[in-house]
């Protein structure tokens, strides 16, 4: 075996052996103060699926969540996902996506309709992006503040793998692992929302 081949074998072996600890990370984006309503019987992690993307993994609120969107989205690495990223030089990204819907936000009612109580649902339409940092194989996290979406949850969350983030994770032995996270709040017109924009009340017409 040539020296070059030996180096490749060693590299593959080290990556294979360390992938279980390099892949302990999870990245969660949640809507501030929006409690979840799991659609699935796993109340700890919510519903789950695996997403295959090129370079990023994202998730949009399913229709079953309704207009209030998602309470939280968690994207987790797995050892074989990590190995796949290594093999494709980070071009192919697979993530286990776990999500929980936000609870509905009905306006208050009256037992009898003779005393109207009008309240409104607040949509901020906010969106944001931030680099989230994981340390010590996921034991410590930093830099992922909750999204302030008013009375509703998230419409979409995306986690991006960047080549230099990937290399940093590999070189640091998994003690440091950054990811680029983007999110967008749910709302009637969330596609045109703006970061830290003003809260715009929308009457739901309830009593």
């Amino acid at each position: 075996m040539t020296a070059g081949r030996r180096r490749v074998v060693w590299f593959v072996a080290i990556v294979a052996l360390t992938s279980p600890v390099l892949s302990c990370y999870q990245y969660r984006q949640q809507a501030l103060g929006i409690t979840p309503a799991s659609e699935c019987p796993d109340f700890s992690r919510g519903c789950a699926t695996t997403q295959w993307r090129f370079g990023y993994a994202g998730f949009s609120a399913p229709d079953s969540c309704g207009t209030v969107g998602l309470s939280e989205v968690t994207l987790r690495d797995r050892p074989h996902f990590f190995l796949l990223s290594v093999a494709t030089l980070g071009l192919v990204s697979a993530k286990r996506v776990e999500w929980k819907c936000a609870r509905p936000a009905p306006s208050g009612g009256n037992l009898f309709a003779n005393v109207p109580v009008r309240d409104s649902l607040r949509f901020t339409g906010a969106r944001g992006r931030r680099t989230g940092w994981g340390f010590l194989w996921g034991a410590v996290t930093s830099g992922l503040p909750s999204a302030q979406c008013g009375d509703v949850g998230l419409a979409e969350v995306t986690v991006g793998d960047r080549p230099h983030f990937f290399l940093l994770t590999l070189v640091s032995g998994g003690t440091v692992s950054p990811r680029r996270v983007q999110w967008r709040c749910a709302g009637p017109d969330s596609a045109s929302g703006n970061t830290n924009g003003p809260v715009s009340p929308l009457s739901m017409g309830g009593r």
Binding site: P36, D42, G109, L111, F112
Partner: protein, 501 residues
């Protein structure tokens, strides 16, 4: 109801229960954008159909809220009803209130699945607040009621103590409205609107409040909030000296040195003791009740910044179980967590102070209610148990006014001391908890268990802890609500059968 999920395993929030289930049902209101009594009743009708199906097929049916209980108290191998989307909230105008009821209290009717977080928001918009809640806000109102969730409000009680009416579906044929005998809340007109049969009976009401889903499906509750108030928090290390223990025993704090301004009676009090630090030291949190927000004080900010990962507590449990001598280092994590909170200068509404939980992953928690005079001895026994087993755990105490619920664990008059042994999910933590329970019993210290936290209850112990008379009273009340064996089987589960309830 939505179509049943294909996934057959239910797991609770803390990942301590994994339960195969026959069917998972997600309860949904017909209109999720506004609370209407027509849709509330339509949902109630569908839930009664579910009870009929369970009765006819002999299958257990249990409702689950936030799934926060550490035990199998909510679990079933039959039909599990997820109530989290059933979160209507209703104002109760004069027409809805019984003659003679003080309308200035402005009670509200809450559907079973509304979260404490959403109740806080709804009440804040009305200029009101909950009198107390748990330390976090993800429980549903029916779940918090059914398990006796408590805070640390020394003159208030637990969640069940401000619930003044319960709307419940126990059989397929009707729904019941339970209230105290001497204090009607809803008018006959209101009950007609709900289609409920009124029962004013103290024994039934006191038993049904803390009944962990065993009396039927709770459809809704009426609670009495307070006018909006603020909690002004102070946190500091204190010495567990005789003056402090005297204050704990008497609930008179004039001689004790607690954080915050002298001479003010705490609204909320808790003591957190790290067994790996000095034996006579604790971190005390005092919250004062204010009608106005103190100038300059800010609500605590708990999101963003450095935080623990989902698996940290689980990992601590594995590491400390695997290697001896590691636990004291793990306890440094707890110490760091204490120091993350400011000593003073933070205040907010109850909804701002007791907010989203940051605890994820597997953990272990046990809480025992006991008389105040045993508080000092109990803390010492729990400390010794943690140290003996080198458990990655902390010991804490909160204090809650005793209530009237038959099986409420905050039953020790006049104020119940709640001893908590919480920590990482570890064999060492379990051993420390078990030793604490065993030694409390050996020392003759009477205690009761939080229904939603780890315990060693069985048919004998539940009667020893609460007293045979109380348990019999609760069982008799359940038999009145559910008069046949078939009806009782529907709302039984392995936990209630083990306890012979």
């Amino acid at each position: 109801m939505s179509p049943p999920s294909a996934a057959p395993i239910w797991r609770n929030w803390h990942e301590t229960v994994s339960q195969p289930i026959r069917r998972f049902e997600v309860g949904r209101n017909g209109d999720e954008s506004q609370s209407t009594i027509a849709q509330y009743n339509a949902t109630a009708s569908r839930l009664r159909d579910l009870i009929r199906e369970a009765t006819d097929t002999g299958v257990s049916l249990r409702a689950v809220g936030g799934g926060w209980s550490f035990t199998r108290v909510a679990a079933t191998d039959g039909i599990l009803l997820d109530t989290q989307r059933l979160n209507y909230r209703f104002n109760l105008g004069p027409e809805a209130l019984a003659p003679g009821y003080d309308a200035s209290i402005r009670p509200v009717l809450l559907q079973c699945g509304i979260s404490i977080a959403d109740v806080n928001k709804y009440l804040a918009r009305r200029g009101q607040a909950l009198r107390t809640s748990g330390a976090s806000n993800g429980q549903t109102i029916a779940g918090a009621l059914g398990t006796g969730t408590h805070g640390g409000a020394i003159d208030v009680g637990a969640v069940q103590d401000y619930v003044v009416g319960i709307h419940i579906a126990a059989t397929p044929d009707e729904t019941l409205w339970l209230e105290r005998s001497e204090r009607r809340v809803l008018s006959d007109t209101a009950l007609t609107a709900l289609g409920a049969r009124r029962i004013n009976d103290d024994e039934l009401f006191d038993a049904a409040r803390v009944s962990f889903g065993s009396f039927g499906l709770v459809l809704g509750v009426v609670i009495e909030p307070d006018p909006l108030y603020f909690l002004h928090a102070f946190r500091d290390r204190v010495t567990l000296n005789p003056a402090l223990w005297d204050a704990v025993q008497t609930m008179q704090f004039g001689g004790a040195s607690l954080p915050g301004p002298a001479g003010r009676r705490p609204y909320h009090l808790e003591l957190n003791h790290n067994p790996y630090e000095s034996a006579d030291a604790a971190m005390a949190t005092v919250m004062l009740r204010e009608s106005q927000k103190p100038p300059g004080a800010k609500a605590p900010k708990l999101d963003g910044g450095i935080g623990k990962g989902d698996s940290l507590l689980d990992a601590i449990g594995v590491v400390t179980d695997t290697w001896d001598g590691v636990t004291p280092f793990a306890a440094l994590v707890f110490k760091a967590a204490y120091q993350a909170f400011p000593k003073a200068g933070f205040a907010g509404t109850p909804g701002e102070m007791f907010k989203d939980t940051s605890t994820r992953g597997r953990s272990a928690s046990s809480a025992m209610g006991l008389p105040l005079e045993h508080a000092q001895a109990a803390l010492q026994l729990a400390r010794e148990a943690v140290l003996k087993h080198q458990a990655p755990a902390l010991v804490a105490m909160r204090f809650v006014k005793a209530g009237r619920s038959t099986l409420g664990f905050t039953m020790h008059e006049p104020v119940t001391c709640i001893l908590e042994v919480d920590g990482a999910h570890s064999d060492r933590t379990f051993a420390a908890q078990a030793q604490t329970w065993r030694v409390l019993e050996q020392k003759g210290i009477p205690y009761t268990f939080h229904w939603g936290k780890m315990n060693d209850l069985d048919a004998v112990r539940v009667r020893a802890r609460w007293g045979t008379a109380r348990v019999q009273q609760w069982v008799a009340a359940r038999q009145r609500i559910l008069p046949t064996d078939a009806a009782r089987r529907v709302f039984a589960n392995a936990f209630t059968l083990l306890l012979d309830l």
